[in-house]
């Protein structure tokens, strides 16, 4: 809970579980002003998706408090959606209108118009009838963004939105992100791309617990990244100071 009307997301002492008594993520404690962007870093299984699913209310809170301005939109990694599902791009965008709370009623004409407008805005007006699974990775991500626009979510949770997306689509999606922030929406983006985190207002490092939170210059230090990623991090340039570093993650495959 917060007194500040300009706060879009606040998380206090959050611990989350998938059902058992042990926490999948604990010690999360941060807040974001409306219209800001947060980059969520962490290894696979480090709690990025867990945090998002706690913010949507899907997962059980063990303790702590969460406040989100309105109902957040959740954009899963598109390969976690059912690509064989017989829904078109328009069908998926139209799902955003279910957030009005009257999901048992058929879609209204105005809902359909909003879904078409949203697809046009993400540049997919001509792909409305194409099956979601037949679109490219970048196009799928834009369809999910259209669903969030129909929902008119103030807070968007994006799970690795640029994974598997070609560079041209990636630029288009990042341009959309900037537009959404200019409208005052708040974006939380999880990624493995440590270097891209420098472009965000805030960075949150998770490894089962909150390792670091703050502006890129505060959160992207060698110490924080090593505590976040362990031996998966390779620091590229480091002038020896405490300031931010450039780094990449490497995936270790254990057999």
């Amino acid at each position: 809970m917060t007194d500040d009307a300009g706060i879009a997301v606040s998380v206090e002492g959050l611990a989350v579980t998938y059902g058992g008594p042990t926490a999948a993520l604990e010690g999360a404690d941060f807040s974001l002003p409306a219209g800001s962007s947060l980059c969520v870093l962490g290894p696979n299984g480090g709690g990025k998706t867990t945090l998002f699913r706690a913010l949507t209310g899907e997962l059980t809170r063990l303790h702590g408090a969460v406040h989100v301005d309105g109902r957040p939109a959740y954009l899963a990694q598109t390969e976690r959606t059912r690509l064989d599902f017989p829904v078109s791009a328009l069908d998926v965008a139209l799902m955003g209108s279910l957030a009005n709370g009257r999901w048992w009623l058929p879609a209204r004409r105005s809902d359909r118009a909003a879904a078409r407008d949203a697809l046009a805005r993400v540049g997919l007006a001509d792909r409305a009838a194409v099956r979601f699974g037949e679109l490219s990775g970048g196009q799928r991500q834009r369809v999910l963004l259209a669903r969030a626009l129909v929902q008119d979510a103030h807070v968007l949770l994006l799970d690795e939105p640029l994974a598997g997306v070609d560079p041209a689509s990636g630029e288009r999606i990042e341009a959309l992100f900037r537009e959404l922030r200019d409208e005052g929406r708040t974006l939380l983006v999880s990624t493995h791309d440590v270097d891209s985190a420098r472009a965000f207002d805030r960075v949150l490092c998770l490894n089962h617990t909150q390792v670091a939170f703050g502006s890129p210059s505060v959160a992207l230090t060698r110490a924080a990244l090593e505590r976040t990623y362990g031996d998966e991090i390779v620091v590229l340039d480091d002038d020896g100071s405490d300031g931010p570093v450039r780094a990449v993650t490497v995936q270790h495959h254990h057999h």
């Binding site: 059902g19 899907e58 939109a73 959740y74 899963a76 599902f85 829904v87 279910l98 669903r147 929902q151």
Partner: protein, 294 residues
């Protein structure tokens, strides 16, 4: 089928008039039963195929078998016994799923084996059910009464109401469960209702198609329709049409060859699936070759 060696000519000669389906009173009852079950099976089947619950639908029918044997042996209501077993099984699957432990194919297969084995042991050694076993496993067109019709009508009405009211939420949740949760949809309640509804409808289908062949009504028509359609609404419509047609033709075959309706409906439905699968594979192959060449 088994009777072919009576000689193809005599089998053809015994071909009944299609009018018998409506003129013979017991056949008329059976026809109404299969049309009602076709509506329930087609609609729920579409959700079963979309949500990948085919094995569950098969298992929930088979799981009722020992319950049916016991009910038959002690003269208790078969419907209530089957409903208790089916809902119990669905509840177990739902609990396992909620705890994040998918019951999985192995557990389902084990449940199937145990249910069948237990049913056979009870039927042969405890209740000496004899000829009733055939009826319990494969259904009957002869023994259906008004009570069965009302139960089938109830299942059809429930399937239709649930599809109208929950269809959008089921679609959104099946496509992307976390995204649907974020939209504020009752994903967990919707899943629970779907499992429960499949259990209830499977019980409604038992008198006609038996415990072993529930999937012939609840999986096969929708699987065929899935090959031929490319949207949720068209899938629902096509699955229902195919289920009703397959039930009618299957009933006719069952009258002709004097076999229970369960196997006849299953053979007709599976043949339709095979034809649809072959046809779509043949039609789609040239297109994909062209796509690869360009």
């Amino acid at each position: 089928m088994i009777l072919v060696y009576a000689g193809p000519v005599s089998v053809l000669a015994s071909l009944p008039s299609p009018g018998d389906l409506v003129e013979l009173p017991f056949m008329r009852t059976a026809l109404i039963e299969l049309v009602l079950l076709g509506i329930a099976g087609g609609l729920l089947g579409a959700w079963i195929v979309l949500r990948r619950l085919a094995f569950f639908a098969h298992a929930v029918g088979t799981a009722t078998f020992p319950g049916l044997v016991v009910a038959d042996g002690i003269g208790f209501s078969a419907t209530i016994a089957a409903l208790a077993v089916a809902l119990g099984y669905a509840g177990g699957v739902e609990r396992a799923g909620r705890a994040g432990r998918d019951p999985g194919d192995v557990a389902t297969a084990l449940a199937l084996v145990v249910a069948l084995a237990l049913g056979v042991v009870l039927a042969s050694d405890v209740f000496e059910s004899g000829a009733a076993v055939d009826r319990l496993l494969f259904g009957t067109a002869l023994g259906l009464d008004d009570g069965d019709l009302w139960i089938a009508a109830g299942a059809a009405a429930l399937a239709l109401a649930a599809t109208v009211l929950l269809g959008r939420a089921w679609t959104a949740a099946g496509f992307d469960a976390s995204g649907a949760s974020a939209l504020g949809l009752p994903v967990r309640t919707g899943d629970r209702l779907l499992l429960g509804l499949i259990a209830v409808a499977a019980v409604a289908a038992l008198p006609a198609v038996g415990a072993l062949l529930v999937a012939s009504l609840f999986v096969v028509p929708a699987a065929t329709a899935r090959l031929l359609t490319n949207g949720v609404a068209t899938l629902l419509a096509a699955a229902t049409a195919i289920a009703v047609a397959q039930g009618t033709v299957g009933l006719y075959v069952s009258l002709w060859l004097d076999v229970p309706p369960g196997p006849a409906v299953a053979v007709v439905g599976s043949s339709a699936y095979a034809v649809a699968a072959l046809a779509t594979a043949t039609l789609r192959r040239p297109a994909s070759v062209v796509a690869e060449a360009t």
